[in-house]
């Protein structure tokens, strides 16, 4: 039962208060994109066994979306950040590196 920090409410939230929105930092493809890019945006997922960046919404609370970095093996959470970020903030990446020396970077 995850317990994740909501940056808006400034508190930890029980998993039952949240809903997960899947992979973060996807770039929306509109009608001008190729079918292949559109497919990648809509369906293809990194689904890493290890550290992932994902979207959550505090649906029973403030209603705000935010992002987290989480390990899908241990469920360790490396921090929450605003859903408006187009890439993970440096502080989050630094936290990850502190725990995982072999972390390759978020885009890899």
């Amino acid at each position: 039962m995850l317990y994740i920090f909501c940056p808006t409410c400034q508190r930890d939230c029980d998993e039952t208060e949240l809903s997960c929105g899947g992979q973060a930092h996807l770039i929306r493809r509109d009608h001008a994109s190729s079918d292949k890019d559109f497919y990648k945006y809509l369906y293809e997922r990194k689904n890493d066994k290890g550290i992932i960046f994902e979207r959550w919404r505090h649906v029973y609370g403030c209603g705000k979306w935010f992002h987290t970095a989480r390990c899908t093996i241990t469920n360790q959470v490396f921090g929450s950040y605003s859903a408006k970020e187009v890439q993970p903030p440096k502080s989050i990446l630094a936290t990850i590196r502190r725990y995982r020396v072999d972390f390759k970077g978020w885009g890899k």
């Binding site: 039962m1 079918d35 292949k36 497919y39 369906y43 066994k49 994902e54 899908t72 093996i73 469920n75």
Partner: protein
């Protein structure tokens, strides 16, 4: 291979069972194979078996990072049914169910296929209409199902509460030839027969790299060394994305934990499988007497084989409401399986961007029922180097073309 028969059991009983051989040989990898199947679960073993049986391809290795049947094959609620809505789904699941009927005899191993019937409850008008649509689709495609009334439901499952105040039972879709099987035995039975065919089953052997030459597969790197192969097929369920990553492509898949639980064993109270999709729960009773219960999957990616209590709670709540007498039975054990969910919740049996590399994955929460059919179709694809009639609707391309196979139309969560 020593056959299992009345006489062999009788003979062995009187000599302390000393004559039984290993169910499958413990093999070490050879340098090279015609085909390597990565993943020693039901789907992988069945693929190897049908390659050998239907296409006489014998030079095969099945490599498994843990132990045979240790993934979702050994972690599911053992339901077998084919009452799907879409024609392509019906095709593969009905083939599978049909193969299950004689699987014990075909493999000379009692996998305890028990066609005790699957009852899919309708608890809203909308679900009732959707289920009627499914029943028509089933009939036209040769699947034996029918709609039954609430009274008939009560007759089939006397412990059910059909007048629940919140979601009364309005009817159900009944598939008398659906049922359950002993999940571990399915893996063991295929492994034993594969071994008998001379197929190498290599446990504790994890793939750590994929060898390609000009986008053509040439082998795999494993914890037991490099193994060359002409063709490779990934059949690794929740871990498919990890393997695809090694091969340099991504899949339209997310891995999530699906939870199930069993109760303490009790004397028989329910003789068929009941699925309640509106309230998200399904229930059957094993031959040991345990109630086997499944429900929804976690909403987030997870590889930890343990999940949240949330869905256990929701599922049990729904079932206690539907079957009030079970409230005083106790939860004995819960577990999670890592299931691979695709964008349309239907499976993938497909070629990949790498020549000679095939993939079978995306069975999500409902793979057990598909094992024989999926193995059959995948073997056919590997042998012919292109998907056959059963497999072709399930290629990865469908997402690119918008050709989704969406079963949720039937208001059914896939199981």
């Amino acid at each position: 291979m020593k056959r299992y028969s009345f006489s062999s059991i009788f003979t062995e009983a009187f000599r302390d069972n000393l004559g039984w051989e290993k169910a499958w040989a413990k093999s070490l990898p050879k340098k090279e194979y015609d085909v390597i199947i990565v993943g020693g679960g039901g789907h992988g073993l069945a693929t190897a078996y049908y390659l050998a049986k239907n296409f006489k391809v014998m030079d095969i290795a099945v490599i498994e990072k843990g132990w045979i049947g240790g993934g979702n094959t050994g972690r599911n609620t053992t339901i077998i049914r084919s009452n799907y809505l879409q024609e392509s789904s019906i095709g593969i699941y009905e083939k599978s169910r049909f193969l299950y009927e004689t699987l014990s005899q075909d493999l000379n191993y009692n996998i305890m296929f028990s066609p005790r019937g699957v009852l899919m409850l309708c608890q809203t008008e909308h679900e009732l209409r959707a289920m009627k649509r499914t029943s028509h689709a089933n009939r036209i495609n040769g699947v034996d199902t029918k709609m039954v009334t609430p009274e008939e439901v009560k007759e089939i499952v006397p412990i059910i509460n059909i007048d629940g105040p919140r979601f009364p039972i309005l009817g159900a879709l009944w598939q008398p030839r659906g049922g359950t099987a002993r999940h571990d035995a399915v893996a063991w039975a295929y492994a034993r027969k594969c071994s008998d065919y001379g197929i190498d089953i290599i446990e504790q052997c994890e793939v750590i790299g994929v060898k390609k030459k000009r986008e053509k597969i040439v082998g795999v790197e494993t914890t037991k060394g490099h193994i060359k192969a002409k063709k490779v097929c990934f059949v690794a369920a929740g871990h498919s994305s990890v393997l695809a990553d090694l091969a340099g492509f991504r899949l339209p898949i997310e891995s999530v934990a699906l939870q199930a639980l069993v109760s303490e064993p009790i004397k028989p109270i329910i003789d068929c499988v009941v699925m309640a999709n509106t309230v998200h729960g399904y229930l059957s009773q094993s031959d040991k007497g345990e109630l086997v219960i499944g429900g929804g999957a976690d909403g987030y990616n997870n590889y930890s084989q343990r999940g949240s209590f949330l869905h256990i709670e929701e599922t049990v709540r729904a079932l206690v409401e539907t079957f009030p007498v079970i409230s005083r039975l106790r939860q004995l054990r819960q577990w999670g399986g890592i299931v691979d969910m695709t964008g349309d919740r239907s499976p993938i049996i497909s070629k990949t961007p790498v020549d000679g590399l095939y993939i079978n994955c995306g069975w999500g929460t409902g793979g057990f029922k598909a094992i024989p059919g999926s193995g059959w179709a995948t073997a056919e694809m590997i042998y012919n180097e292109k998907p056959g009639k059963l497999a072709s609707p399930f290629s990865i391309d469908r997402f690119l073309e918008g050709r989704l196979i969406d079963e949720s139309a039937a208001a059914a969560v896939a199981h």
